[in-house]
């Protein structure tokens, strides 16, 4: 029945595969935003660049170790390297990006929130850096650490930036192994959104106020795993407010929602927007809000927290503020940093992007790179006893 195949069988098979792929690809280019200035140059970066690569090692001399929130002008990004322009007012070096490929690293696998924001902004970043190609690259692993490491260790030429979980601030404070970056030293490009976090409890449960929690013998909170954001938040909240928490870790994704519905656990902490459906369905009740926004009828952590825990409260609030950070490799030339920042700023002001974001349910509250960097450095500046507390929390059972 089946005779020996000829080479042309193989040829047909490969061509069919390629054809199918090309069809999908053409459909793919149709999804680009309006007036994209797509370069006709090649995608691959192994191109004999017109520019000689800068001597690349990231700046050890970045004097930004001491964070001062009251910094007005550009955060300390000066390097003792050769600069194209040594003017006090730095020009955005947009021309550099013409014909280049920019890697936008996402520290998660495809399909999560960080991925969604990255894929939302990438085409517009490309639009505002004319001639460039922005490729989204998923580098997942070790709870965003590998992705952040990748951005940090990339050549400091301004062609790599990315997004990761600001929970790494807590991880860095706790001194987690495997961290090869210093968040204070990243070139912060922007923060795309602020997302207040909410502590919710089961609607059918006995707890209605924070005081109820404090009075209870034990509150079962659900989390993803020791050291994860959900777990750290719950433990920090417990440390601040003084209720006895029992962490039940192992709920991936939204399984904790179902656990709450089952009455298995008493509550969890997550972003307010992710808890909203549960609240609206009548399954959960918001008992506390963490963040600068206020939600009607729900007390804010700031109000309920005792004064001596202010440092921790600030830390938790900064986590809520820095919901979608974008950072670039330390030590990139100032002109390129400015170009990136400007392009991202314009992207997040682009009406098309904003419309898409709204449709997709992705909130956008743009915060500049400078402000983001200030917040990050402030959050990293903690007293030893706070750091010890965080260490205990992050590695606790």
């Amino acid at each position: 029945m089946l005779r020996q195949p000829r080479m042309w069988h193989l040829g047909i098979f490969l061509s069919a595969l390629l054809a199918l792929a090309l069809v999908a690809g053409c459909a793919g280019t149709a999804g680009q935003p309006s007036a994209p200035t797509k370069s006709t140059s090649e995608q691959q970066s192994a191109k004999p660049a017109q520019e000689k690569p800068e001597p690349t090692k990231p700046a050890q001399a970045t004097p930004s170790a001491k964070p001062t929130p009251a910094q007005a002008a550009q955060p300390a990004q000066e390097q003792p390297k050769a600069q194209p322009t040594a003017k006090p007012e730095v020009q955005a070096d947009v021309a550099f990006y013409n014909g280049k490929t920019v890697s936008f690293i996402v520290a998660t696998k495809p399909g999560g929130g960080y991925d969604a924001y990255a894929r939302l902004v990438a085409p517009y970043l490309q639009k505002y850096l004319p001639g460039s190609t922005v490729l989204v690259k998923n580098v997942e692993g070790a709870g965003h650490i590998i992705g952040a490491n990748t951005i940090y260790a990339a050549p400091a030429d301004g062609l790599t930036l990315g997004t990761f979980n600001k929970g790494l601030i807590v991880s860095q404070l706790a001194g987690m192994e495997g961290i090869k970056f210093d968040l204070a030293k990243f070139v912060w490009i922007a923060n795309a959104a602020t997302e207040p976090r909410a502590m919710v409890v089961t609607a059918k449960g006995p707890y209605k106020t924070v005081e109820d929690l404090i009075a209870a013998p034990e509150v079962k909170m659900g989390g993803a795993g020791v050291g994860s954001e959900s777990s750290n938040d719950a433990l920090m909240a417990a440390a601040i407010l003084g209720f006895k928490v029992k962490m039940i870790n192992g709920y991936a994704g939204q399984e904790a929602d179902l656990a709450m519905m089952r009455g298995e656990i008493d509550g969890q902490i997550g972003t307010y927007s992710s808890m909203k459906p549960l609240i609206e369905q009548g399954e959960a009740r918001a008992i506390l809000i963490i963040g600068k926004e206020d939600v009607a009828g729900v007390p804010n952590l700031r109000q309920k927290a005792p004064a001596e825990k202010k440092a921790l409260v600030d830390l938790m609030e900064s986590q809520a503020q820095l919901a979608r950070v974008i950072a670039a490799t330390p030590g990139i030339p100032e002109g390129r940093a400015k170009a990136l920042r400007d392009a991202v700023k314009k992207a997040f002001a682009d009406p098309e992007l904003l419309a898409k974001a709204q449709q997709a349910g992705l909130p956008i509250n743009y915060m500049s790179g400078e402000e983001t960097g200030d917040l990050v450095r402030a959050a990293l500046d903690q007293k030893p006893e706070v750091i010890q507390l965080i260490k205990d929390i992050v590695t606790k059972k």
Binding site: G11, G25, Q43, A46, K397
Partner: protein, 182 residues
């Protein structure tokens, strides 16, 4: 005596034993809760493999090899198993194999696969894929020029079009490109 110990099946069983033993030892460096499951798994595993290792040593590995042959005969029912059947046609005789020790003919393909990874690591997918295809098809399999070039171009095209343009998955560019061509 040496034959009993130094044959393939026995060595491989010993490898398993070492693996389980190592896992047990390392498990004790973790706290009580974390070590529970690994121990519950590795200790019986170790016991099982120790027993099997003893069998292999006793029979000098013959137990495995004989059973395998029997099973394959029973299943294929043709007195010929697909793994050890002599290949047909020009392939085996003509293939240019690497100079590996006679006892370890499998080193030849191992080295080719490792070589592929090294090539990718140094040169990146875009270059390594066509290069490997060419080297394998032309140099090892000794196919004709036409076929070799077609396949090489196909490999390059897949990397470039399918991954570069369609899927837009950036492929690793190799350390040379990373260090020197940025």
């Amino acid at each position: 005596m040496r034959a009993r110990l130094l044959n393939g099946p026995t060595l491989f069983a010993a490898f398993f034993v070492v693996l389980f033993a190592g896992a047990i030892i390392v498990a004790f460096t973790y706290n009580v809760r974390a070590r529970g499951a690994p121990l519950v798994i590795s200790i019986p595993g170790l016991v099982l493999m120790l027993g099997w290792l003893a069998t292999e040593i006793r029979t000098g590995g013959a137990a495995t090899l004989r059973r395998k042959h029997d099973r394959e005969v029973a299943i294929s029912g043709e007195g010929q198993d697909s793994v050890s059947a002599p290949a047909k046609g020009k392939e085996t005789s003509n293939i240019r194999k690497l100079p590996v020790p006679r006892a370890l003919p499998e080193l030849d393909p191992f080295l080719w696969v490792t070589g592929l990874l090294v090539l990718i690591w140094i040169l990146g997918f875009q270059i390594a894929m066509p290069l490997f295809m060419f080297l394998y098809v032309k140099v090892r399999s000794r196919e004709g020029w036409m076929l070799s070039i077609v396949l090489t171009v196909a490999a390059w095209a897949v990397a470039y079009f399918v991954f570069g343009h369609v899927l837009r998955i950036p492929l690793y560019e190799g350390i040379i490109a990373q260090q020197f061509l940025r």
